[in-house]
């Protein structure tokens, strides 16, 4: 981890991160989050390290790491943080940035969520079969074999009457939340 050349610390933090930085700047680097995280074993840098990089303005390093996408929202860190920082929320804020900027390494996650939300937008409720197939489609350039990994699962779900296959690409339904999504987009773009 040590680099020969010391990192020049620069205070100017990118604007995109400013809001998240505010959420965690009272951090005391106690490591409760790291010690609590069930996914820490799979992370390349620990959550505490991630927050520190955020405070030090190391944006590129943050997004080349896979730490934040590995957050499974178990809220252990939020529960235990002695400073009461909204850490799970800050993780999902990072995910939002990755989604918005469509960062390639994080596509499996961000696309997954996007397809899910598209399904919700269209029907008001999620259509599991539809959303899974659009997800596979969106990932086909990155991981064309992805559908195969889940094929047997699909079949088992079908057998258990857990997947409704009808009308996979149905029109906007009565319950459509399109207006809501539009309004949200409009409001969020204003800021």
């Amino acid at each position: 981890m040590n680099r020969l050349q010391p990192v020049r610390i620069d205070h100017t933090v990118s604007d995109t991160l400013a809001e998240i930085k505010d959420k965690v700047c009272a951090c005391i680097q106690c490591g409760t989050c790291t010690g609590s995280c069930p996914n820490a074993f799979a992370m390349d840098i620990t959550p505490r390290h991630l927050w520190r990089m955020l405070l030090m303005g190391q944006k590129d390093e943050i997004f080349t790491s896979r730490t934040f996408v590995l957050c499974s929202s178990c809220y252990y860190c939020t529960l235990r943080c002695p400073r009461g920082l909204p850490l799970t929320e800050a993780m999902s804020d990072l995910k939002q940035i990755a989604a918005k900027e469509d960062m390639i390494p994080h596509r499996p996650s961000t696309r997954f969520y996007k397809c899910f939300m598209d399904s919700v937008r269209r029907h008001g409720r999620v259509r599991e079969a539809e959303f899974i197939s659009t997800y596979f489609l969106s990932m086909s350039a990155t991981d064309p074999l992805l559908p195969l990994k889940y094929a047997s699962m699909g079949i088992r779900l079908l057998q258990k009457r857990k997947l409704a296959l009808k009308n996979p690409l149905q029109k906007m339904s009565e319950r459509s939340l399109d207006v809501v999504f539009k309004k949200v987009e409009e409001m969020e773009n204003q800021i």
Binding site: S72, L79, D93, Q96, R156, L163, V180, F181, K183, E188
Partner: protein
């Protein structure tokens, strides 16, 4: 006691047996559930990763509908993810008045108004505290004293809001399990994370977490859950885990109301057990051979 009822998307699909068993259980306990009219998706874990406002607006739509239906009744939610999303809005809108305004600006598109008056309740909370083990005990018809059940709570009904149970060492399922005569498996994995949507995006990480849980459950006859995502992660990947870790950890995974329905002597239709993906042979046999 009557409740408004928000099943959520999963309970219409992959978790249909949760929906079935919850309704059966409530009926047996003499509780009337009124399903929310035209309920919509809460946004699951996806909305928060896409848009913060949307992640508040989607649950708020349903809370606004609930308010319009009843001033007094609590909103019962079996799915932990939905529960947390709705609870989150309830809590946040109370603390940040600005958010309430912004939400209502969005909800105006649907001609809805959200006042934040409905109390969001998790199914487990209602079962453990409003109904209570004493009452459940009276409804039990079968003796499960030969079973050991591992209670698995998952994350989102416990954290970040410790509403009805200890968020580190939860216990609220235990009296209910004991009411069936079964023993409670002693472990400390009840509140641990199952990996959530990692199973779809980072499957290796997800498998590692589930492996840990299943391994710790060894010795129990079944794990009971109160969350569709937990249920799915625990039941649907057992073969993949066997392949990866070279260990057979097959385990029956039931929803908590399913276990109670079975103990009340309900049929397969009423408990929805035919939709479960992991019910071991041993478990089935034990179901047939009850102690006298």
């Amino acid at each position: 006691m009557n409740y408004l009822y928000y099943p959520g998307c999963s309970l219409e699909g992959t978790a249909r047996e949760y929906n079935i068993s919850t309704r059966s259980f409530m009926k047996a306990a003499g509780i009337k559930l009124t399903e929310l009219e035209e309920w919509t998706c809460c946004g699951a874990s996806a909305a928060a990763s896409v848009s913060p406002l949307l992640s508040s607006a989607l649950p708020a739509i349903n809370l606004a509908v609930a308010e319009s239906m009843s001033q007094t009744e609590n909103l019962l939610i079996p799915c932990s993810a939905c529960y947390l999303n709705l609870k989150n809005v309830e809590e946040k809108a109370r603390k940040e008045p600005g958010l309430l305004k912004r939400i209502n600006k969005v909800l105006a598109e649907k001609n809805l108004n959200f006042k934040n008056r409905t109390k969001v309740r998790h199914l487990l909370d209602v079962m453990a505290h409003d109904i209570g083990a004493e009452k459940v005990k009276n409804l039990i018809k079968k003796d499960f004293s030969h079973l050991t059940i591992a209670p698995y709570y998952g994350c989102q009904c416990l954290r970040p809001y410790p509403v009805f149970d200890d968020p580190e060492e939860p216990v609220s399922m235990e009296p209910l399990i004991k009411a069936t005569g079964a023993l409670v498996h002693s472990w400390n994995m009840g509140g641990k994370c199952c990996g959530a949507s990692h199973m779809n995006t980072k499957i290796d990480v997800g498998l590692e977490l589930v492996y840990g849980i299943l391994k710790a459950a060894r010795g129990a006859d079944a794990i009971v859950t109160v969350c569709p995502m937990c249920q799915m992660n625990l039941e649907a990947y057992q073969d993949k885990i066997e392949l990866k870790y070279k260990e057979n950890l097959n385990m029956t995974i039931l929803y908590l109301p399913q276990l109670l329905c079975l103990a009340m002597g309900m049929s397969e239709d009423e408990s929805g057990i035919e939709s479960n993906m992991a019910v071991t042979k041993t478990f089935k046999e034990k179901m047939k051979k009850l102690p006298k």
